[in-house]
């Protein structure tokens, strides 16, 4: 039951350009969304989050956009840096769930010099 979908398994971007990672969800009860970054042999690292009452949240080079009507969110990284190369996971949580996170399968981002 894939409630959070990341349809692009991989993305390649040149250093300095914008990286846009996309995520779709099916459960309209989700009210909180998060992005995590993961390097090989490490656990997911929290990047940025957004509540369903907002449509945008920004933190430095990272911005998350939420389109509730389309059940779609995206993560923008600008400017992209080689150190951003990692797997990015979208996650969502419904209310009253003990904060259980539903993860997408991830998008592998490669930022080339």
């Amino acid at each position: 039951d894939q409630q959070v979908k990341q349809n692009s398994p991989s993305l390649s971007v040149q250093e300095g350009r914008i990286s846009i990672l996309n995520c779709d969800y099916t459960n309209s009860m989700f009210d909180y969304f998060l992005w995590y970054k993961k390097y090989p042999a490490e656990g997911p690292t929290f990047l940025i989050s957004i509540s369903s009452i907002k449509d945008k949240n920004e933190d430095g080079r990272f911005t998350v956009f939420l389109n509730k009507s389309a059940k779609h969110l995206s993560l923008h990284i600008v400017p992209s840096q080689p150190g951003d190369s990692a797997v990015y996971f979208c996650a969502a949580s419904p209310p009253d769930s003990g904060y259980a996170l539903n993860f997408g399968k991830g998008t592998s981002l490669l930022v080339t010099p």
Partner: protein, 113 residues
């Protein structure tokens, strides 16, 4: 910076054996979680734990699984009789009170032979 730690980093066991995976959450956090990631698949929620009891669990978390906070610092996941399909990366996470942002440990790779 405080971090979640997990031991061991890799556990190899025979089918039918019991295993205990250990985690030390961030010290002032109140919510604790276990997730797993089977190779090539998404990160899946297993269980959340708050105030010394399970607050939510997934269908995966059946009677073979149990969690415990035996003292003020450790959080453990026990699998009573391991199966081949339990082979996965197991991640522990913790969060401060009432927030969705969870901080993950580096994971324990469990291999069941």
């Amino acid at each position: 910076e405080p971090e979640v730690t997990q031991t061991p980093s890799h556990q190899v066991t025979q089918m039918g054996q019991e295993v205990i995976l250990r985690c030390v959450p961030i010290s002032n956090h109140l919510y604790f979680y276990w997730y797993r990631q089977i190779l090539g698949q998404k990160v899946e929620f297993l269980v959340s734990f708050y105030n010394n009891e399970i607050s939510e669990k997934s269908e995966i978390f059946d009677d073979q699984f149990s969690v415990e906070r035996p003292d003020g610092s450790n959080f453990t996941l026990k699998i009573r009789s391991t199966k081949l399909e339990d082979s996965a990366m197991y991640f522990c996470a913790s969060s401060a009170g009432g927030v969705h942002e969870q901080f993950f440990g580096p994971g324990t790779r469990l291999t069941v032979l």
